[in-house]
Amino acid sequence: MTRLIPKPLIVGFGLAITAVILNGWLSYQNINTLVANEQKEANSQLILNQLEQILSTIKDAALGQRSYLLTKDNRYLVSYQAAVTDINHHVASLQQGVEDSTQQRQLRQLQHQVNNKLNALQNIVPWQQQDLSPAIQPDLLAQGQRILTELQQIVTEMKTREKNTLAQQVKASQVSFQQAITVFFLVALLNLGLLALLYYVMRRNFLTNQQVQMALHQAKADLEQRVSERTAELSQINHQLQIELDERRQVQEALRISQARFVGILDIAGDAIISIDGNQRITLFNQGAEKIFGYSAQEAIGQSLDLLIPPRFVQTHRQHINEFSRGSAQSRCMGERQEVLGQRKDGTEFPAEASISKLKLEEEVTFTVILRDITDRKQVEQMKNEFVSIVSHELRTPLASIHGALGMLASGLLKTDSEQGKRLLEIAVNSTDRLVCLINDILDIEWIESDRAKMERTVCDLADLIKKAVDRVQSLADKVNVTLSISYPPIQLWVDPDRIVQMLVNLLSNAIKFSSAGNTVWLDVMDRSVGSPQDSTILVSVRDQGRGIPVDKLDSIFERFQQVDSSDSRNHDGTGLGLAICRSIVQQHHGQIWVDSVLGKGSTFYFTLPIGSTSQNAEAIGIAQKTVQPTLKVPQSQGGYGLEKTTRPARVLLVEDDTALANLLIMQFEHQNMITFHAKTGQEAIHLSQQIAPDLLVLDIILPEGDGFAVVEWLQKHDHLYNTPLLVYSAKDLSESERNRLRLGDTEFLTKGRVTLQEFEQRAMALLHKLTKHEAVETNHDSSTDPSCG
């Protein structure tokens, strides 16, 4: 702030204030002097008055005294005494007013004379009272007179002196007064000048300030304008920035989502996606790669790519990647020259399809390999090739016969009615039939196995279907002298009748073709109704006495073109598709198909069909059977009566006349997913054994229509049954000799009431597990079926 007040102004103000103070002080001094002079004048006046009074009082006292002397009247004494008192009083007052030494001395003289006079006066009075001689009176009076004169003289001197003093004082006062006035005016003038100067300075300052203020105001306005402009600009920029920020945030969010999506895609991709750096170290290993190679990403990252390549290819691979790194191509398929093989963590190798791409970012090269395990595709390709190859062969073979035979006949080199000519015609016709069958079968199976295929189901009588099928194979059977033993149960089915007939024809003609003259082929049907019709199934079996099927073929004969090779010259072979068609048809009907075979004894083909909603035929064939849904994969046991390592469920024949107990046991077996057949009598047991060749016989001893002993005896006599595992389940303890009579295959004895159902089940399962047949299996069987194609 000091800067704002100019220095001269401060000095000016300082001077003005000083002048005012000085003026005040001088005035005060002058007034003081004046007052003092006034007091001195007053004092002098007072002294003069006092002196007059003293003189006057003395005169009064002298007068009073004289009067007294003359009259002797005492009253004059009173005035005399009052005058004396007054004189003393006046003298005391005068002593206070006198200041200078001269006056003090005069005053002492005066006092002295006053006292003399007073003494003189006093002396007279007692005289009078004592009657003094009148002689002395004149002396005394003269003396009094003299003193009075002296007194008057002193008073006059003092008066004169006092008057002089007074005159001097008045003069001094006047001078002092004039001086004061002069000083006052001078100082006032000075002050006025200063004030004028100050005014000038202040005005100048004010004007300057005003200009400055205006300039400042202008500047401030300008500044505000600029500030507001700048603010607007800034807010615009801010807004722009905000937008950019938002955009960036959006972009970042999008990027994050995109990245997450990318990572997700990378991860869920079925293909292996592997990145490697310039040193061929793994930097990325997705879930697909984890799955394909068996390494976790953690294990793989940082490792060399060599980890994933069979050692013998490592060098070549490195070379290829280096070449690729130098080349101009951005990406290429790997293994253009040879198949790419990958190596899993467990050391196994697999064929792969792979492509590699490179990404160069700031001199850093990243290679990305996308790799797919093509083991399955290779297998499918191989299967396809094999299929095409087989079909090609199967088509070309009959065609070759036809072409050759007809070509020869057409050439005219042979007469058609010659022996050879007739034979060639026959060959041509048969081969044509075979070709037609093959083509039909191929088309058939393609159709049935395709998703478009729909079974045209109607309610039909199984007996009718069987009749139709038998009609078609009867001539074939007659030709090779094979007896057909067929049952025709009147069971209502909800099936595609044509397909079921086709299947029955396939199975029957197959059985006939592999039978020898004089053999029998059986077709039996078992209704295995349990509970509601929806749960019911029928089991159809077609049994022959042919040579049987080797164990290792039991599964594969249902595959296409998987005939059991025939090495004899009999021309059994059909199209090789018959059983494959049967399986497809059964599957379309939600049933199952399997085969049991005893080498040298014959084969039995089984298939099940759900009865569907049309069943009113429980107990239709007079045999009480109970089943559970046959879905079990039989525990790994080899060969035997059918417990080959297939998906065929184990079959248990339960012989028990007590229905309640039987149901409990059936529940137990059901628990183990076994197919359970139930016979209530000895006769039923024998009949069912023939039909189903059970994997396990669970036998009660005391039965209606032939007891347990009779059943065992019968089975012992039959080649394909004598070795059936047996669980004897009797109410009474059996003697040693009884036990000896009750032996088939592995045989166990349990006594009712002594074992729990769980134990029972365990024993039964143990028996099933033990099933291991050691029979050599070398027979021929063919799956092709259509009699007309045989």
Partner: protein, 127 residues
């Protein structure tokens, strides 16, 4: 001039028969037949035919194995073998040539040309 003798090996009876009639009728050769590789080895050793017409896809011992056995056996090593097969994909044909087979004739074959094709492959003159 002795009659040429040819062994036709095929598990298909009809092929055997047709081939036999063709070759006998067209070329006048004597034709022996075998239904399997195993039978072919025995007959070839015993009869010493001038050539063998061999099928490839046969149950049991297939044609190529049979050919190898014939080559390994000093008694049959010299007999020229011609394939008569339905398995004639290009890869197969290449394979056959490498194995040392004299020729491959595809099924179905031309009955009138069959003898000529064999004679050509073996540099036989046709009478």
């Amino acid at each position: 001039m002795t009659v040429r003798q040819i062994l036709v090996v095929d598990n298909e009876e009809y092929i055997q028969e047709v081939a036999k009639i063709c070759l006998e009728t067209v070329a006048g050769w004597q034709v022996l037949t075998a239904s399997s590789g195993e039978a072919a080895l025995k007959i070839a050793e015993a009869e010493q035919p001038d050539a063998i017409l061999l099928d490839v896809m046969m149950p049991g011992m297939d044609g190529l194995t049979t050919f190898q056995k014939l080559q390994e056996n000093a008694a049959t090593h010299h007999i020229p073998v011609i394939l008569l097969t339905a398995k004639i994909q290009s890869s197969d044909r290449q394979n056959y040539e490498q194995m040392g087979l004299r020729a491959t004739i595809a099924k179905p074959f031309d009955p009138l040309e069959l003898a000529k094709q064999i004679a050509q492959a073996l540099d036989w003159s046709m009478t």
